[in-house]
Symmetry: C2
Subunit: 452 residues, 2 copies
């Protein structure tokens, strides 16, 4: 069975990030200050981010130029390959055509360096010496550690304690790049100490780790905060993925009928899908877009579209998004990168506008899909990416049932080399599916802040 790979020359790598805000038929809801609950301005965000990123966060320009130095670093692994999954199609005996964009070729093994490098660059430009962030699965932390090493920036990572303990390989990778990694909740911050006082055995959450990182970031003038998903500028940086895929599919003489991406905070989904959704909103070409989230952290499929904090302690601005409530701590399923209580405001907005669909899948189904994919295509996906694999397989099987040949595109956002424990647990039969009761979801949502 022939390998079908679409590469681009370096000259064909995008020169601009695509800003979907320019094509929205309805503008995004305003971001509110966590204290005053009034709209925030750029100055309010200055303690957290460099001004260049704040301006990107609020930009309405359709394209934003990628700085030469960032493009030069992208070139180490970009353009990333687009594959036709011929061996998987054969295994599924489907008439569908399945394409996947593979972002695991980056040094840190996922799509996250697309934004980590850009963020490190702009911080360096504005004289920042130290970046503070949080990480769950570790994909983001290791990407920022990688980018920090390239730009000679100190990197401090608050890592959700359960991952800190169960993913020593990820931690070692960050430390190899020179970052300092602290288990969260920690004794190093007031928010960490407050959690530990109440729950000494807390294994942490992304929301708590964000509180710690934000708290530390605002304390020192040479330090800024960096976020790996959710925000507009982060999603913006990921659009190189979809832009490249569009050119590669053109080479293949194809265009997707269905695009699938997994969603935690929304950045890899945005990366693959936004350029195509933009074309749809501009009336150029239709496409069905499916966001896949875990059944055990169903912000879009079971949460509420409401103003909420990005962190547990309520230190971040309030954004309107699909959320399970900022105090929600997802159960311990294995796709750590998808365990976030909220969803990117842009992705949430597109769901409200009917431009995308959302679905959720159970954990066991995702691992079965990942193993089938690995045996057919040779690449071992990250547990997060397995959600996209599972949904793409479901779409391909539906094509088989219906006897139609559709073109499916999904983003294989990272490899699972640092997540083998999850595969071992799955193969040993110790993993379980998980579903919250309606009461549990309602209870989590009861903690939403009242706004306006």
């Amino acid at each position: 069975m022939e390998t079908v790979k679409y590469l681009l020359s370096e000259r064909e790598m995008p020169e601009f990030w695509y800003n979907i805000v320019a094509d929205l038929p309805v503008p995004l809801p305003t971001v509110l200050h966590p204290g005053t609950k009034q709209p925030v301005g750029p100055a309010d965000l200055a303690p957290l981010f460099p001004m260049a990123l704040i301006l990107q966060e609020v930009s309405t320009e359709r394209t934003i130029e990628i700085p030469d130095e960032v493009r030069s670093i992208y070139r180490q692994w970009r353009p990333t390959p687009l594959y036709r999954a011929r061996r998987l199609e054969q295994a599924l005996d489907t008439p569908a055509k399945i394409y996947y964009k593979y972002e695991g070729v980056s040094p840190a093994g996922s799509h996250k360096p697309n934004t980590a490098v850009a963020q490190a660059y702009y911080n360096k430009q504005e004289g920042v010496k130290r970046l503070v962030t949080e990480t769950g699965a570790g994909q983001w932390g290791s990407s920022l550690a990688f980018a920090g090493a390239l730009f000679d920036l100190e990197v401090l990572v608050y890592m959700v304690k359960v991952s800190f303990n169960h993913k020593p390989y990820r931690r070692a990778l960050m430390e190899t790049y020179g970052a300092r990694v602290v288990a969260s909740p920690s004794e190093e911050t007031a928010s960490g100490r407050a959690i530990l006082a109440e729950h000494p055995d807390s294994t942490g959450s992304l929301g708590i780790a964000i509180s710690e990182a934000v708290e530390v970031a605002v304390q020192r003038d040479d330090t800024r905060y960096a976020l790996g998903s959710v925000l507009n500028h982060v999603l913006l940086h990921q659009t190189v993925i979809g832009q490249e895929a569009m050119v590669q599919l053109e080479q293949a003489g194809d265009y997707p009928d269905i695009i699938v991406g997994c969603t935690g905070g929304g950045s890899n989904f945005a990366g693959i899908a936004f350029p195509f959704i933009g074309a749809k909103m501009r009336g150029e070409r239709d496409v069905r877009v499916v966001a896949v989230e875990p059944a055990a952290c169903p912000s879009m499929t079971r949460g509420k579209y409401a103003y909420d904090y990005g962190d547990t302690a309520g230190m971040t601005p309030l954004v309107k998004m699909h959320t399970l409530g900022h105090t929600f701590v997802p159960s311990g399923f294995h796709a750590g990168g998808l365990r976030y209580h909220g969803m990117a405001p842009l992705v949430s907005h597109l769901l409200e506008l009917g431009q995308i669909e959302a679905t959720n899948v159970q954990q066991l189904e995702t691992f079965a899909a990942g193993i089938q994919f690995a045996r057919a295509e040779g690449i071992l996906p990250a547990p997060e990416a397995n959600h996209a694999v599972a949904a793409a397989i479901n779409e391909a099987l539906r094509c088989k049932e219906e006897g139609v040949s559709k073109t499916i595109l999904f983003n294989l956002c990272g490899h699972g080399h640092f997540d083998m424990t999850a595969y071992t647990d799955y193969m040993a039969g110790t993993l379980k599916d998980f579903e919250y009761s309606s009461e549990e979801v309602a209870m989590a949502l009861a903690g939403l802040p009242s706004v306006g």
Copy 2:
């Protein structure tokens, strides 16, 4: 600092493997039967390998065509990138130019699939249903498991027990691809049971695992043995690396003054170096070639050039090679892929002919080099590859001392994603250097078989 990457189009991927035997000024010593100690013929090897591979093993043709189906699978990750290590050069402040070929982009993460895919293909062609092999670090085992999944072949891997216990992630990768992995020495074979009877706590060695795999392979007619290094046909399959590098350097307008490769059994070294050594032996272009081995397993720098078995039990043919003796069990240093008592006969022969040099490095130096490389270039090398990194850095620093700008090429044969424990141990200060006394080496060599 600009990324400098040299890619090739798929059309520029080699169509032939390069067989260095055709250019040897002195032929290789004969291979001997382990029982009769008389020269072996192709028929003697038939219980172990398919005839196509046996014919490659003894071929004197300069080029051997790569089957279309193998090339098609290669295309998933080949041609691999060649990088100029600009950021490392800057960190070292050296006038040298450092290039590295990166083989970690393969699905299994190393150069090993170059031969695993070819071997699986030829076995499948000849009706084989099951492949048996051994693995130390797990790079080879996971590559054969990957190739087996593609060709629907059953794969059984005897994994050196110390790695089986300390590298659960590697084992999980092989199992994800569908292979069965057994800790060696095992109770499943006579050779395993013999070792366990004498040493119940044996943590195994590559030599023991080879004995087990060979024993199982010859028992069933639908089963063959597969080896990941040492043999001529295995080294042959790796020559795509050096052939690609030659074209990529031509694009760069450069030619190496020095080539560096790390050596365990010799296959990645052969892959990068043989095409260049061939050009040297044909009088076309000179180059200095350095093989780097661990100080804790110094077959070329401290062993003897003599006939020896490939395995501990003495079941394999006798080959003339640099060896520490087939009963030698290397100390537990971290580069499991370099812990073999012997060296490929072809590499040994070239060392005897003065076509290459051999050197060794201590473990701590290799990890320091690997971390420096990761922080500069972003890619985290496997512990095996760190030996090449360390030697390349040493050459670059010598250039700095001497004030000369030489061109250094090395093979970064794999990534270290499954070897993070080694990095953690290094950073925690628990790793040690190791050197055998002359008495210990002499004692190991006393076990060499007497031949002719």
